[in-house]
């Protein structure tokens, strides 16, 4: 007999509370678009900010609200971009892979001007006499970019930042971290770059750094009528619409080895680091 009472009493309590919750659920209803969670699942989830949003959840919201396209996510592989686009039923646009390039080859043995003492971080060192390197535009070598890179693609070697192209995903966190604005996003396909960013005259550069680009224009002559190289005042840059190939380095025989192949540079093949 009392087991019947038990069932009834628990049943009553359950229904009463159920009704109360039902009413409250109606009063406090808030709607959520479930497509956002789905897109978020398909994103890599590195929260690197490369897409310009504050992390993958934010980016997913942006993509669903058509404020951004899936291809904007630098970390996504080609298949991910296609998968997301199909899920949302929009076209998967093509996007060229960009990598970071530190346009400086002046490590400590090469350009050290005086001893530095203080916070070992580029953003702080630049406030003290523009850092301790001879060149006002050179890499300070305290690794703010290496620290800012969520994928560990930048290695500090003898006070110089060196980008490992294969690890770099193109999220551009390092570009903002460098106080000397040395880091530029270049197409991954380009192999040969000028590792100098100083607009000074050749002689002034030569005094402070042995591997600076002294605008001798040998590389421009060596590339014949193909305009591989761009001349910008006293500095030569690779023309990234029509990037030079690796063999231009031997052809030009750059006197200060400012013109380098990035994979070789990453391996430290250009002396100076010995």
């Amino acid at each position: 007999m009392d087991s019947l009472i038990a069932i009834i009493s628990v049943g009553v309590i359950g229904t009463v509370l159920g009704v109360v919750i039902g009413i409250v659920a109606k009063v406090f209803a808030v709607d959520v678009d479930e497509r956002i969670e789905q897109v978020e699942e398909m994103l890599p989830g590195a929260n690197c900010g490369g897409c310009g949003f504050a992390g993958c959840a934010d980016f997913a919201k942006g993509v669903v609200a058509e404020k951004a396209t899936p291809a904007q996510c630098p970390v996504c592989s080609r298949e991910d971009v296609v998968a997301i686009s199909d899920y949302l039923g929009i076209a998967a646009e093509e996007k060229e892979k960009m990598v970071a390039l530190v346009r400086c080859s002046g490590d400590i043995p090469n350009t050290q001007r005086s001893l530095y003492n203080g916070v070992r971080d580029c953003q702080s060192a630049v406030l003290v006499a523009g850092g301790a390197k001879g060149c006002d535009y050179g890499c300070l070598g305290f690794g703010s970019c290496a620290e800012a890179c969520p994928f560990g693609a930048i290695e500090m070697r003898a006070g110089l930042a060196i980008v490992h192209k294969d690890l770099c995903v193109g999220c551009e966190n390092c570009v903002a971290a460098c106080p000397k604005e040395l880091i530029k996003m270049v197409p991954a396909a380009a192999t040969t770059h000028v590792y100098c960013n100083s607009p000074e005259k050749g002689a002034a550069k030569r005094k402070v750094c042995q591997t600076a680009c002294i605008a001798c224009r040998k590389c421009v002559k060596a590339s014949g009528e193909e305009d591989y190289m761009e001349i910008d005042g006293f500095l030569i840059r690779s023309n990234y619409e029509n990037p030079p190939s690796a063999d231009l380095v031997e052809a030009a025989a750059c006197p200060t080895t400012a013109l380098r192949v990035d994979t070789e540079h990453a391996k430290g093949a250009y002396g100076g680091e010995a």
Binding site: R113, N117, G118, S124, L127, A129, G130, G131, A176
Partner: protein, 442 residues
């Protein structure tokens, strides 16, 4: 005028080691064969160049006119020909444009304006224009154009002019010698500034570790309505906000200017420069600089023209007996470390200082033990230790909440920190970061 000076909270007492050069009279620096005058010598817009290579100039000729209201003209320190317009390493380490003048030896004056004989009756607006034309800047170290401070907007009522003779930086004795040897110039300069602001009197604040200067100023100020106030020694009393509080008891609100509470502060050297401009009709082309430091053979005070390379200044002081650890422009507390001898003096170079090797203990900073010494000594009453922790973890929004923007970078906290932490550098970075709007969350 309050009778008793107030003591502001915080502050430190480094040994002033002014004895090295305090008793040395001001010497006139001999004429050099060339001067490299740095173009941008003031806070605000850089001046616009008027001369080109090969032009003949006399002493005082206009080299560049002011590039806007908050900017000052630049005058030639000597007569000669413009050799080159190129770059020279600036005090902040970055090479800056400069005008190189090859001296012709005559050193012949050709001032762009005439002396004003009776400044007591001249219209204040004309006097202020003269201060602007002479290129007078704040010589305490900030190099803020003086005429801008002298033209407050109408809604700001100014009722107090203070001449800053505190010179609380250790080692420096330039202002001390200036007040001692040409006290009259400072007092009359002060009266001219008071007249420009429409005031009857002004106060000269001098720390009482310079008793002879205080006496000399009191004697010179006898028949002028200038009150000399001696202040207890307390670094950084020379900072604008602290000096105003010490003399008037008023606190400049955070983020506001002294003129918002009716005060204008001018350095005593700027007052002397105003005297030079109005009474002698000469532009501001030189200043008194202390060349001092233990490694120096014969430290002293010299009147250098703008554009004198540091190497020449050190030669005048007899060179060095031992290789110094640091070469500074300014005092040890707020001075800027240099790494090249070709930097040339400017209108705000109050000192050229060599720090010996043994005076510099190699700073390996240790973790903060929260001893609170920096909290006690901060004159702006903010919390250096907590802000330092915030900056170390890239939490600049938290640093801003802790009022890091109120920091005047006087260095008292780093000075008193037993762990040798580079607090000053971290705050400078935080302010740059916040000003650049990069609220990077850690």
């Amino acid at each position: 005028m309050s009778d008793k000076p107030r003591k502001f909270k915080g502050g430190v007492h480094p040994n002033d080691s002014k004895a090295l050069s305090a008793h040395k009279p001001i010497q006139e620096a001999p004429l050099l064969d060339s001067y490299k005058v740095i173009m941008h010598q003031n806070i605000g817009a850089p001046p616009e160049l008027l001369v080109k290579k090969g032009d003949e100039v006399k002493k005082g000729t206009l080299l560049a006119k002011a590039g806007g209201f908050v900017s000052v003209p630049l005058h030639s320190p000597t007569s000669g020909t413009i050799k080159m317009i190129d770059k020279v390493p600036g005090p902040t380490g970055i090479s800056v444009p400069c005008i190189e003048i090859a001296a012709d030896g005559e050193d012949e004056w050709d001032s762009p304006f005439e002396p004003i004989t009776d400044w007591k009756t001249t219209d204040p607006v004309e006097l202020r224009q003269r201060v602007w034309d002479a290129g007078v800047v704040g010589m305490g170290g900030a190099a803020f154009p003086s005429h801008v401070k002298l033209s407050p907007p109408d809604d700001k009522k100014i009722d107090m002019l203070i001449l800053n003779g505190a010179e609380c930086e250790p080692y420096l004795t330039a202002d001390h010698r200036l007040m001692l040897e040409n006290a009259k110039e400072v007092v009359i300069g002060g009266s001219i500034l008071a007249r420009i602001l429409g005031l009857e009197s002004c106060v000269i604040g001098v720390e009482n570790n310079k008793p002879d200067a205080v006496e000399m100023l009191k004697k010179a100020a006898a028949n002028h309505s200038v009150h000399v106030q001696d202040l207890p020694v307390n670094y950084p009393q020379g900072a604008e906000k602290q000096l105003i509080y010490a003399i008037t008891g008023r606190e400049v609100p955070v983020g506001a200017l002294p003129m918002d509470i009716g005060c204008v502060v001018q350095n005593v050297a700027s007052a002397a420069a105003v005297y030079e401009a109005v009474v002698n009709g000469r532009p501001s082309i030189d200043r008194i600089t202390t060349v001092t430091g233990k490694p120096l053979v014969d430290p002293g005070n010299w009147k250098f023209r703008i554009g004198t390379p540091i190497s020449k200044a050190l030669e005048l002081a007899g060179g060095i007996t031992e290789q110094p650890a640091k070469l500074l422009l300014g005092g040890p507390m707020m001075g800027i470390a240099q790494s090249s001898l070709d930097v040339t003096t400017m209108k705000n170079t109050s000192g050229i200082l060599l720090i010996a090797q043994d005076e510099v203990s190699q700073y390996t900073s240790e973790p903060c033990i929260r001893c609170g010494r920096c909290v006690d000594c901060c004159p702006m009453q903010i919390l250096p230790a907590t802000i330092s922790q915030a900056v170390e973890n890239h939490r600049f929004d938290w640093a801003e909440q802790l009022n890091v923007m109120a920091c005047i970078e006087c260095g008292s906290c780093s000075y008193s920190c037993p762990s040798h932490r580079p607090l000053n550098q971290q705050f400078k970075r935080a302010k740059v970061e916040i000003r650049a709007g990069l609220r990077k969350k850690g």
